[in-house]
Amino acid sequence: MGIETALPTDIVLTTQLQRVINWARRSSIWPIPFATACCGIELMATASSRYDLARFGAEVMRFSPRQSDLLIVAGRVSVKMMPVLQRIYQQMTEPRWVLSMGACASTGGVFDTYAVVQGVDQFIPVDVYVPGCPPRPEQLIEGVMAIQRIIDEDGIPPIGPGGKRAPLGIAIDPSHAPAPQPVGVGLPKG
């Protein structure tokens, strides 16, 4: 089937933990679609069998920010919608990446009016911009592959200023003190 058939079964492979984790992350990017316009249609086409985003491990569209790694902002974002987008970004768990798909999400596009945000990167961090109006699925796939290249360079935990993401402060020192358990917790004997 795969590489395991070519290798003897009793060997040991050595690698870096960082590489293994990055390999796992890059191969299972679960996107959350924030599709507000025609870019969302191209996003659907990208996930379909002709372009098959599953080849890059990114076919599982999650509609919960808690379960997703990559926020794909596809389409124009109105000022009234911006707090929703920010809330979704804040609800995503680390590690998380943001892909700004198309001219509208990246710059406001032709919608240079009072109601449309002129680029979501003004208000949330963006890792990859995909140009196009709307981008073809090939372009979006290139954007996802760019996210994969970013993941390849990531550290564990990611380093703030030089690295791609900030340290996972919440994991290193939790902000809450666990209360003592009132009763001993254990499995019943017998």
Partner: protein
């Protein structure tokens, strides 16, 4: 659709309100009756109830700003009501004009930009009147719930007024920024 130049509703309105001031226009088969703002509610009630009119459906309520319009208009703001009659198979437009009395840049309440709501005649006017209020700042007296419908509540303008800049007054820039450490 019966939209010939001699729209039957014109004659009915004229004989029923002999002492009211009306204007009527025709454009490419669409008949428009221009009424004074004070007469609007009474005329609309008549158009709904009269046996030969029976306008039982209000398609839309639209605001228009005629600032810098090339032709001379009776007022700066127009409010257009599109009526349909399923029973008589008629389509009819009613229009009224308002002139502001305070500067139109802000959201100051203007006593001159108030007309009677028709929500008691056609309940479907509720949201369309809210949209006209949101975009033009024209208030509807007797509306059950006159709030902004598309923009958020503390929006500092009425953006479809022609003196409102199309790029806004900084609403799209004034927002908090979320960075990578926000969770």
């Amino acid at each position: 659709m019966t939209t010939t130049p001699d729209h039957p509703t014109f004659a009915r309105v004229k004989e029923s309100f002999p002492d009211k001031k009306f204007r009527a226009t025709e454009f490419r088969g669409d008949s428009t009756l221009v009424v004074e703002p004070g007469d609007l509610h009474e005329v609309m009630q008549f158009l709904k109830d009269d046996e030969s009119c029976k306008y039982d459906f209000l398609s839309d309520v639209i605001g228009v700003d005629y600032l810098n319009y090339p032709a001379k208009m009776p007022g700066r703001f127009g409010v257009v009501y599109i009526l349909c009659s399923y029973e008589r198979d008629l389509r009819f437009y009613v229009k009224t004009f308002l002139d502001p009395s305070v500067p139109t840049e802000g959201i100051e309440e203007d006593p001159a930009l108030v007309i009677d709501s028709v929500t008691d005649i056609w309940a479907g006017a509720e949201w369309t009147e809210r949209e006209v209020f949101d975009m033009f700042g024209i208030r509807f007296k007797g509306h059950p719930d006159l709030r902004r419908i598309l923009l958020w509540e503390d929006y500092p303008g009425h953006p479809l007024r022609k003196d409102y800049p199309v790029k806004g007054r900084g609403e799209r820039e004034m927002y908090k920024v979320v960075d990578r450490t926000d969770a």
